[in-house]
Point group: C2
Chain length 223, copies 2
DNA sequence: TTGCATTTCAAACAGACGTATGAAACTATG
DNA sequence: CATAGTTTCATACGTCTGTTTGAAATGCAA
């Protein structure tokens, strides 16, 4: 029992390597080298490579979802069963963005691993991933409570876009940094969360249809 | 000369397979089986697997960029050297979205291949991909012409978010369909383009400031 | 200690991968 | 037709993959 040191060393090393280099490029031999354990240990403790990946994904997936729901539940209880739409969205994208872009290295590995998992769909993960939809449904419901008059389809698109902006920001920090010559600050996580939430909120609270020909706002006053 | 049938059969089959299943899961033997050519043909015509991938990517990358720039140039010439922001954004996300979600199967393979390439970064592509930033800079410039008063950083974030929404919509149609119980229509490509462009335009043309739903969000210029 | 179960280890396994080879089948020019 | 050049083909090569094996090491109860 004292010696599941091996087990957790494998998990930690695997998560970091997968987060850094993706599933395709990382072999079991890479993992055991990083964890400084024997090659056969993976199959002994996890059964197979796929089961190792699945265990990582399940653990992290549950943790992320729990974190999101805690934030949502706290907000809705504070608001008497209903939270403002921007607060709901913040609970949705905040945990992942903080996890990926924040300073904590261990959390960063975990969150970036989840992003990888959501992109490069490997067989062991694909099966489990369908549960995510059930999780997101709870946020769709909270959004419906926040904006009862809004067309349901708009809500789904808003949720979809919010996640899209958050994930792409994590996935492709490099391009944005290069494109903006470093002017877009990707270290200020809270500012990024504010930005994503703001755009998604805007999309969900503005009346569609009159966008193109509407009066253009003078932005000069805005710093 | 008449017999680069083999060559193009390989290209077509490879593009379709990579688009469908990603780079990691597709072997040369899968490709030659689908193309109904001999295994050695790939190395004979392309030199190596990596060079095959690179050729696919370069070809498609140039085509996509050309299509985008044509649309942008036409719009700016019609407007006397300046296009409205939503038109610029439409030129940015339209070609890819039409390509991926539209009915044309060949184009769909091409566009979905490009999405894969932008996600699962394999070595042969990674090197070439840096040029994309130069391409996007032209759109950043057009956006600057469309919204001369807007803070530069906001423009970059707007461009980033527009691409994020477009790509995620292509990448994860399945989740949105499931989540919305089929209520979000992913066959109406023009409606999707309108939606993406509308949200991005909104984000770029709305005055930053207090959200109507609470004091907490200091919107676009979140810093 | 002895005995038994758990865990580690070096080594080997079978299979799949990208690539190389050399002969056979073509095409085209004279 | 003959011949030179190109393209196809079956086959084999070396390497890397995940997994298995059986023995050695370790932990722990009696």
């Amino acid at each position: 029992m004292a010696t599941d040191h091996t087990r957790s060393a494998i998990l930690t090393a695997a998560e970091r390597l997968y987060a850094d280099r993706g599933f395709a490029d990382v072999t079991l031999r890479d993992i055991v080298a990083a964890a400084d354990v024997n090659l056969a240990a993976v199959n002994y403790h996890f059964g197979s490579k796929d089961e190792l990946i699945a265990e990582l994904f399940v653990t992290r997936s549950l943790a992320t979802n729990r974190e999101r729901l805690n934030e949502l539940k706290a907000a809705e209880e504070a608001g008497g069963g209903r939270a403002e739409i921007d607060v709901v969205l913040r609970a949705l994208v905040g945990p992942t963005l903080r996890g990926c872009l924040g300073p904590d290295k261990q959390r960063s590995d975990a969150a970036r691993f989840m992003i990888r998992a959501s992109i490069e769909s490997v067989p062991p993960i694909r099966k489990i991933k369908n549960r995510e939809v059930d999780h997101l449904r709870k946020f769709a419901a909270a959004m419906k409570r926040a904006l009862p008059g809004r067309d349901e389809v708009d809500l789904y698109w808003g949720l979809h876009f919010a996640l899209a902006m958050a994930h792409q920001t994590i996935r492709d920090t490099e391009r944005l940094t290069k494109l903006s010559d470093g002017k877009c600050d990707l270290n200020d996580v809270n500012a990024i969360i504010d930005r994503v939430v703001a755009v998604a909120t805007l999309a969900l609270t503005t009346n569609p249809g009159r966008s193109k020909t509407g009066p253009r706002v003078n932005v000069l006053a805005a710093r």
